[in-house]
Subunit: 316 residues, 2 copies
Amino acid sequence: MQIKELIAQMMQGNSRALARLITLLENREYQAAIMKEVSPHTGKAYTLGITGPPGVGKSTLISGLVGHIRRQGLTAGVLCVDPTSPFSGGSLLGDRIRMDEISRDEGVFIRSLATRHNLGGLSPTARQSIKLLDAAGKDMIIVETVGVGQVQWDIKKVADTVLVVLIPGLGDNIQMLKAGMMEIADIFVLNMADREGAQDMLNELQTTLPSFHTAWRPPVVPTVSIRSEGIDTLYGAVLEHRAFLEREGLLQKRRRERDFHLLVEMVHDNLQEEVERRLAEEEDYKEIVDRVKDASLDLYTAADRITEKILDKVSR
Amino acid sequence: MQIKELIAQMMQGNSRALARLITLLENREYQAAIMKEVSPHTGKAYTLGITGPPGVGKSTLISGLVGHIRRQGLTAGVLCVDPTSPFSGGSLLGDRIRMDEISRDEGVFIRSLATRHNLGGLSPTARQSIKLLDAAGKDMIIVETVGVGQVQWDIKKVADTVLVVLIPGLGDNIQMLKAGMMEIADIFVLNMADREGAQDMLNELQTTLPSFHTAWRPPVVPTVSIRSEGIDTLYGAVLEHRAFLEREGLLQKRRRERDFHLLVEMVHDNLQEEVERRLAEEEDYKEIVDRVKDASLDLYTAADRITEKILDKVSR
């Protein structure tokens, strides 16, 4: 009852209902109920992923983009995915939303989300939150992640267009990060382009590109987000990439692939939960674990036995 | 037959047999056979994890440590885990072993390994390779990972002692990386300690430490690995940490916990393989996937149905 009401309110544009539903997604029982209800209303929003190392001005850039989107008469949703420390249990970076001027606009919804298993990845909850924003009628959904490690690949799994944000003079130490990001970018943003070394970085990016990309050659858009410079060109590049995807039939194809990956991931999460429950609660599983502990059973035989029990092969 | 022979050769100190067995671990059928055989001979080696951002001189440091270990009359195994690009299929950094002077020593075994799912994590194969080196009689096993994203947590799952390597002047952009690494370090290595800013970095590290650590306070060891300076002090710190773990009963406790995690991970890998096989091959699973594709079934109901089928709840 309550959920159907919340969803109805959300679809009428109620931001508080939307926020409440995102919170409820964390609860696995509500999750299924919400998503089954919401599913038929998804597929209209365009998703923009923004990633890059810490400190390149992603938040300011998003703030500029959201302003631009609003001036086109469109609505926007922003999801920020924070890295969380497994030891402290809290966010290391604190609340990363520094977008005061846009956060009071009713056509904009902003939310910070936790990362998957504290490793910096996008959780199924994050991916389902995107679908909620879609059903809530947001035209453009912006997902911000920190482009380090796993997240930079995850963003490709949710976004129609991926912006990789860099700044001049990032230094040799993160050559590797840049290399990993090279391959996921649909558009490069060279932010703080008024800084020294910007031209060198532009040249460097443009000479590195051809080896990775074929049909779509990612443009490099210089911006100075703090002064809102280059935002219109950047938005134009996003629209161009979208037109490219639609022209090539890639938009629907990629979205279907993403749905399939989400499906597989949800199944794995279900199974993982079940395995953990059985190992903790069920006597015959606990017995196997105990035999590993006292070294009367090796790890590998134990893994096989547990797998077989779960797949119910033993009792057949 | 062949595997038992290889294992016998490996345990007599044959490096080629060891190398061959590590390669065979990639094959899941051989994996179980090898590990069941080898399991009873493990538990004697000490595992040292070395992590840190790219470019801090981890390889040179390892080279120095291996030399030091050899001079104590002990043998060493080194496993380097490289980040691999999912798009290129190959290693971005190339072969990272620049340890010519030690790689011809028969008491030293060095091997590069791929990362888990291309995301930079340690695969079960990497974790099993550590056990192989252990069974092969290596006294000290050094595992090198790039300290970015997921890997920095994974190293804690395999190493008795974790060294986090930093250098002066890493810059503000990787404050976040440093923060994440803070919490996994048993010992900090401040390499290139002859560089400008070394003292500031030492002070910074020492003031940040107390909030994370309790019983064991990680020392900060300055080194200049290129000139082999500080290696003996560093090795001394490793022995001290080992003595601490043994005194507190933590060594065995942590190893048992690590075995349990490996067990759970192997079960998940087994299940994941089975799920992927069924979704690709079995008609009733393919039918569910097709219904998602033509939108006659929502993703969430589909995930539940697949989970139930795998857990065999439907037929009961």
